[in-house]
Symmetry: C2
Subunit: 242 residues, 2 copies
């Protein structure tokens, strides 16, 4: 989650869930962004019969993807109007928590839109861990304080179990000073909250969605794919420790 | 405007308004994104006394920037809750149109958040032209159809004068095929709606905000700054034709 746009939320959701599935974990990817990029990223159609808009009202049937062990609840453009539709619903902040009940999966990964509105609030109430992708650029630094504030107020008022799994530095370009400066600043401030694994800027990750495939499948030997595979390893070993 | 995140909306708003101001036009930049990146991009403080949140309720005093001919109405984090606050206001979609009355400026440029919610709807009702920044990447293509639908429904129901000034291709990297493929696809589909000027990927544009300066001032001879200067020329000559 991160309300800053274009930081790699979808690319992370798609590639981490695929890498975990390739390691034998049963994973459910839920696309909660009305743009539906994660849905396309795993080769599915948007606005299909049972989708993440319906999930605000009832439990829905998941769709299989072409990746073994990876299922998905695709996006719908109806999500764009959900905040207005539920404006007077007394449990509007808990709708996802009520219907997300899929015990057969090892991990459920939700891709969020670039806002801190009703959809993101529902995600924060329904989940137990958050990964914060952060582009190694200056504007990305600006939103972090606000995001941290929102997460701690959710923890105090609604969901005491929520924890930050880590901050993931994305689109890291070792050739430019800006990337290094931002990385240093974030690591100094957030210390071990920052994942060891850094995702490099790698065009293969940006090309993969045009083929309807996750980067780790489209170009498994690329630096971007390898980094997401490392992330999955690090994520699993961090889980064991907790 | 573009609901896809990270496509260069803020970078375009900041650099185009500065380039127009440098050509002697009186420009007002209004930051309507709760993240407040455009406010930082021109060296101002967010959440200051008169800000864009207040603009939903009354006309507010503009702030001077260090750029001659460029004034700004800075952002406020209170914007994040405006959709819920105005949910039952019968004129919630026209609030900005009612208070934006600054005839002394040649151009008013509004930076929008990465969503098609109440703030963006207010912008669409208050303005007469839209620039659509589009990253030369696959996921950016996905959101365009939805954005075009929203704009035409605003034109039919609320604001018949709204027109698309143009689609601006951003972060164009001539070295990679993906950039060229996306550019070709957009140009084939949207023809002369696409600005001739393309903004190259240029790290100087990403570095500038950390110094609180627009790219065209921080590094005026860089490819990114020159491109925004060309855009200002093209924008002015297109205005003359209409
Ligand atoms: N490590 C990377 N290297 C190169 N390109 C990347 C990388 N990660 C993501 N991208 C590309 O950058 C763009 C933004 O990434 P992505 O769409 O995943 O971000 P997001 O945070 O989900 O955006 P939004 O805020 O719109 O939801 C996409 O075109 C994607 O393909
Ligand atoms: N042409 C460019 N070359 C290199 N970097 C760029 C360019 N344009 C923008 N950037 C950088 O890319 C990131 C995204 O750009 P920007 O923040 O302007 O997009 P945005 O559409 O306003 O994002 P949001 O959806 O969060 O509002 C920023 O860190 C910015 O500095
Ligand atoms: Mg996304
Ligand atoms: Mg922006």
């Amino acid at each position: 989650m991160n309300q800053k746009g274009g930081v790699g939320k979808t690319t992370t959701a798609v590639n981490l869930s695929t890498a975990l599935a390739q390691k034998g974990k049963k994973v459910l990817l839920i696309d909660l962004d009305p743009q539906g990029n994660a849905t396309t990223g795993v080769g599915l159609e948007k606005n299909s019969v049972s989708n993440s808009y319906d999930l605000f009202f009832e439990k829905v049937q998941e769709s299989k993807t072409f990746v073994e062990n990876l299922h998905c609840i695709p996006s719908s453009k109806d999500l764009a109007g959900i905040a207005i539709e539920l404006a007077s619903d007394p449990v509007k902040n808990y709708k996802l928590k009520q219907s997300i009940n899929y015990p057969e999966y090892d991990y459920i990964i939700m891709d969020s839109p670039p806002t801190l509105g009703l959809i993101s609030l529902n995600i924060l109430n329904a989940c137990n861990g958050i990964i914060i992708p952060m582009q190694c650029e200056f504007y990305s630094l600006e939103g972090i304080a606000q995001l941290m504030e929102t997460i701690s107020s959710v923890r105090e008022n609604w969901n005491k179990d929520i924890k930050i799994d880590g901050i993931l530095m994305t689109m890291f370009d070792r050739r430019n000073m800006l990337s290094k400066d931002v990385l240093n600043e974030v690591t100094m401030f957030f210390k071990d909250l920052v994942f060891e694994t850094k995702i490099p800027r790698n065009v293969k990750l940006a090309e993969a969605p045009s083929f309807g495939k996750p980067g780790v499948i489209y170009s498994p030997l690329s630096p971007g794919a390898k980094a997401y595979d490392d992330l999955a390893e690090e994520f699993l070993s961090k889980e064991k420790l907790n």
